[in-house]
Amino acid sequence: MRFSIYRYNPEADEQPYCQDYELDDALIGDEMMLLGALEKLREQDPSLTFRSSCGEGVCGSDGMNVNGENRLSCITRVSELTQPVTIRPLPGLPVIRDLVIDMTLFYEHYHAVEPYLKPTPAGVSIDLDHELLQSPAEREKLDGSYECILCGCCSTSCPSFWWNPDKFHGPAALLAARRFVVDSRDITTRERLENLDDPYKTFRCRNIQNCTASCPKGLNPSQAIQELKSLMLKKQVD
């Protein structure tokens, strides 16, 4: 099986380039995932660099662009891919080396939406003797948002994020924002929505929907962003 892989070592290479690799078909089983193939290729060329951890689509470490689509290599079956398999780093963020990108900006946007519960007013500590109860219906509202593994496949497939990566929060951060805006236990809904009401932070979203198409967990960040806009309107009318 043939692979064409993006290579770039900023300490040694002036320009990035694509390197061709060949993997013996006998080494590739029907159930083999792309991550397994990359590990075999790394045995051939130990300088090949990529991130991976859990190997089962839970940690979100191994996001990469495979044949033009952002995917997690550990849950992408090699047998489904057309040859040569072109593998590039996730687009739109700086490359550290080969398939490893610098996700600092991505995490900064995630932190900016304050992705944690704020169940008490500022300065008031939470009463640890009492649980923060939530009805099944209220809990159900979180479905589709909390499952995000922050792999970055969505944000790095979003043209709005490519154009304004420092100002547009991007689909992953906005999906997280939506998760805490709709949480019945959080008391800062209005503040959260006011912080998001900005021409760059939220309203760069143009409903392109690459985010939804590329999410390896089957989530719908695009819909979450539309919901945030609707909630902003509702809060303003209230």
């Binding site: 154009w163 304004n164 009401d197 900005d198 021409p199 309107l233 303003q236």
Partner: protein, 112 residues
């Protein structure tokens, strides 16, 4: 929540203006198709009929709003960051000139 035509307000105005224009254009086309333009007087009477002119003026104003939000978005997306302010200023100035022309035309028509 937001300032003048930023964030949510811009988003809303773009949709409100789009909705109005969607209704206006077919209605205007239908209305004008029913009129006779045989003489200049007939043309003036049809186009400057109060109800139609008010609807048209509103449509033109909302078209300016729609253009501002849409063009602003395009400029913010595609222009290099350093050029955005200059681009928006030129756009705003251009739209302002059109607006002033419209106001002048309205006043002129009201007088005559």
């Amino acid at each position: 929540m937001s300032g003048i035509l930023t964030g949510l307000k811009a988003h809303l105005w773009q949709r409100i203006s789009a909705f109005y224009l969607l209704i206006y254009f077919p209605l205007a086309a239908w209305y004008l198709s029913q009129q006779s333009f045989a003489t200049l007087a007939a043309f003036k009477q049809a186009v400057f009929a109060v109800e139609f002119w008010v609807m048209t003026l509103l449509a033109l104003l909302l078209l300016l709003v729609h253009a501002w939000v849409g063009m602003r978005d395009v400029l913010m997306d595609y222009l290099p960051r350093k050029a955005v302010l200059a681009g928006l200023s030129v756009l705003g100035l251009g739209l302002m000139v059109i607006l002033l022309n419209l106001l002048y035309l309205t006043l002129y028509l009201m007088k005559n």
